[in-house]
Symmetry: C2
Subunit: 190 residues, 2 copies
DNA sequence: TTACTTTTGTGACGATCGTCAAATGACAAC
DNA sequence: GTTGTCATTTGACGATCGTCACAAAAGTAA
């Protein structure tokens, strides 16, 4: 059970069978059909989502429009980390892009676990570090690169985004209008 | 010694005198006159900078131009977190904006310390969480807001940036040309 | 003070992007 | 198959921003 998650976490820090057994009590498997909501904006995020299969987008509303700020795929942790950390209402909605299978890690249970099995605090830190690096790379896109360069960066470094994310969502993620991204793509391909 | 840092950290998690004593062996005070470099791009970042007094900017080079991605002030931790975490050459340079007094926390020593005093791993996680939330807020600025709205956001939520950071640096941070930020400012002030 | 350097502000103009509208394409339900 | 819905593409046009050039202001050193 939770085999891929175990593989992921034990790659960060070695986990004893006992530790793992305790940890599984924090976990629950959940399924989300395509286009269903995993976490609603306004709701307080109570846990971390590990994606076993599928894809999830995170978006905020701006003048009624959905602006994506992240896409998550297999073997990644998804969440609204601000809501999760501060236990404040989430500004973002998490929605399955495809049929998605998720392992949900309850925050309260994990915090309690940190006392008895410090290795998970260490793993938690490593996960947050990865997310921070990712966030930073995303932010830097906007100051260093033009819209075309941002798209090329994604094509080069995150081709799965281009393959699996509808253009309209990717456009908001890159901070341009749908039409502009369509034209950028046309210019590059042809 | 390191009084403000102690106050900051013990507000995150209670620290015993013994733990603190061990921790101080990781620390060293450093002074940087205005416009001097704390960390050069290309260099591997070996520690965390806690700013006791002063201000620091972080910037990357793009076509010979310095593009700022962060400003750090009193009682904040500065670093190139990507370089620090992955121990890769930094893409950013950290430079003192003013005369700056820093407590430098050595990474190697801190990692060793985590074994004996897990509270610091917990504190480390909290610091990284804060940085991640900050990074995310910064990234979201670009997709949700126009240049003018971005400037207004900074005026509202981070007025110290407007007061202490030269316009030319703030402009690159907001992803606009110096001239554009000058005009935005003129329009808003009247 | 003057002279010099750096920073900020202004004007003109071209390039890029957003917006609106319509056409085309893709896809699911029937 | 047909229909209806949604996504993407294309065109036209106006708004915004970047760039260049230069002026004004502020800061620095002698």
């Amino acid at each position: 059970m939770f085999h891929t998650l175990h593989k992921m976490l034990s790659a960060i820090r070695p986990i004893t069978p006992d530790e793992w057994l305790t940890f599984t009590s924090c976990l629950a498997e959940k399924n989300f059909p395509a286009k269903t909501v995993c976490l609603s904006a306004g709701q307080i995020c109570r846990g971390l989502y590990f994606i076993e299969q599928g894809a999830v987008r995170s978006y905020a509303l701006k003048d009624g429009q959905e602006i994506c700020n992240h896409f998550y795929f297999e073997n990644e942790f998804a969440s609204d980390f601000e809501s999760l950390t501060l236990q404040q209402p989430s500004k973002h909605t998490l929605e399955a892009l495809e049929e998605t299978r998720i392992v949900y890690c309850d925050r309260e249970k994990m915090l309690a676990l940190y006392q008895h099995a410090p290795v998970f605090e260490s793993i938690g830190r490593a996960i947050v570090e990865q997310m921070m690096i990712r966030q930073n790379a995303y932010a830097v896109l906007f100051t260093l690169y033009s819209p075309t360069e941002r798209y090329q960066f994604v094509v080069e470094h995150h081709p799965e985004l281009v393959r699996r994310v509808p253009l309209q969502y990717l456009a908001t993620y890159l901070g341009v209008a749908r039409e502009t991204l369509s034209r950028i793509r046309g210019r590059i391909s042809g």
